[in-house]
Amino acid sequence: MRLRRILIGLLAPVFAIVLALVVSSLAVLLIHQSPVAAFKDMAQFGIRTDSLIYTVNTAIPLFLSGLAVAIGFKMGLFNIGVEGQYTLAALLAAYVGARVALPAVLHVAFILLVAMIVGAVLAGAAGALKVTRGVHEVISTIMLNYIALGVTGYLLRTRLSQHNPPGDSVTKTKLLPASGVLPSLTRVLHSLGVHPPLGSDLYGFLPIAIAVGVAYYILVWRTGFGYDLRATGVNAAAAQVSGVNPGQMIMKTMLLSGAIAGLVGMPELLGVFHRYSIEFTTGLGFTGIAVALVGRNNPVGIAFAALLFGFLERSAQILDLEGIPKEIAVIMQGVIILSVVIAYEVVRRVVQAQEVRAAAEKSKGLGPTPREEDAA
């Protein structure tokens, strides 16, 4: 029975991927190229060791972004502001981190803490607006996005950047001291017998990201708070009757979501750049929404979705050499998102109907069971 459930659960994403392949094949045919050759190239390029490492590295911030969005989704809230939250958080964390000196582990923890607080404050602002003034969080988080990005640009340009040596035109914050650096996992890989080519470093943030994912699972599925959160997402009115304070729940969820969002820029900050500049990756906030949707708001699904998107992005890079626009990966992403969402809905209805039928079967012969709606 459980195996069947799992298989059915996989049905939707598989269907989505197949549909995405079909649509992108059509797109490739549109420009007179061969889809089969394109996919073959992508697959071959994608499973090279350095590609895999790149995929995982790309997936880590996407994973975190997906988690941030998902915790909101689980409660029925839409935090579309992850983009602004992680950008401002990364800037401030980089700036503050470069101005203190702490022993290594504490230093990293401090930087993470700053990032989480910034993200939480931004998301909390949207939450407060919703609770006190009834402003829908979709619009407020989107507006705060633009505002946060504007503020980040301003702060970077005027206050928080260092004086660059001549010839260096990239505005950036001061370099983090060595105690604030997270080493890569290359040595770990070596000890496992894997030898990636030079320049291909697996982010040291990976274990932290996994820990966040585990914490997310435990919080949402194993604590009373998580139960309240899920209950509010399923039926806010019933949850309120059962004792959940809606205003508090909204605030707590937004704060949590923002805190996780703040971490999205940390892998890059601690593992690659060691400072904040405009070279940071953008768009992770919006892709995170897609990752959460495809991953159906549970940590394992989100992890797979993040890896999938990372893989698509990487393997598509080879397509440029064949004259196929690599934007096809973006189209695939878009199609996957929409079709996953639709497929999940269809599968859910089928499963639901089946369960109802099974329960009805069970009670046959035990008395009349007329069709009933709201019995409570």
């Binding site: 194993r222 604590t223 019933a238 004792g243 369960e355 109802v356 069970k362 009349p368 009933e372």
Partner: protein, 151 residues
């Protein structure tokens, strides 16, 4: 476990006790004769009557001192209705205070020790369920008949 998710047996401190929840659900299913293919089935899959039995069982199993039952058998099939009535009677025997709110005449007369009628927010009648007929009760409920109430 909705409504009781912060107490035993469903929770221990901040953590949800899955085994405790499982156990309690099994007990409720058995005691209240909820018909379901299994304890793991989602509640929406059950028929309305069985959902209601489950909910009544959930509330009673929490050993309350007062139970407020609002329309407890509306839309519920006959078998489940009889089952719920029986549970309410037994709880009353065991000393549970039950506030029954209903529009079902049979239910009101059959279950109550005392009967009060509220119409348009005002108390309009205090009746003895042993003596009142369904027609009388109905006419008070619709306002066709009125009586002086000394509060």
């Amino acid at each position: 476990m909705l409504g009781h998710q912060d107490a035993r047996p469903f929770a221990r401190g901040p953590w949800i006790d899955k085994r405790g929840a499982h156990q309690r659900t099994k007990e409720v299913v058995e005691a209240f004769r909820v018909i379901t293919p299994g304890v793991d089935v989602a509640a929406y899959a059950l028929s309305g009557g069985n959902q209601q039995k489950l909910i009544v069982g959930r509330e009673m199993a929490a050993k309350p001192q007062v139970l407020i039952a609002a329309q407890p058998t509306r839309g519920v099939d006959v078998g489940a209705q009889a089952s719920v009535w029986e549970q309410i009677r037994q709880a009353r025997v065991a000393g549970l205070g039950v506030l029954l709110i209903s529009a079902d005449l049979e239910e009101l007369i059959g279950l109550s020790d005392a009967l009060w009628v509220i119409l348009r927010g005002k108390l309009v009648a205090r009746l003895d369920p042993q003596k009142v007929t369904p027609e009388e009760l109905g006419s008070y409920m619709t306002g066709a008949r009125q009586e002086e109430i000394k509060a």
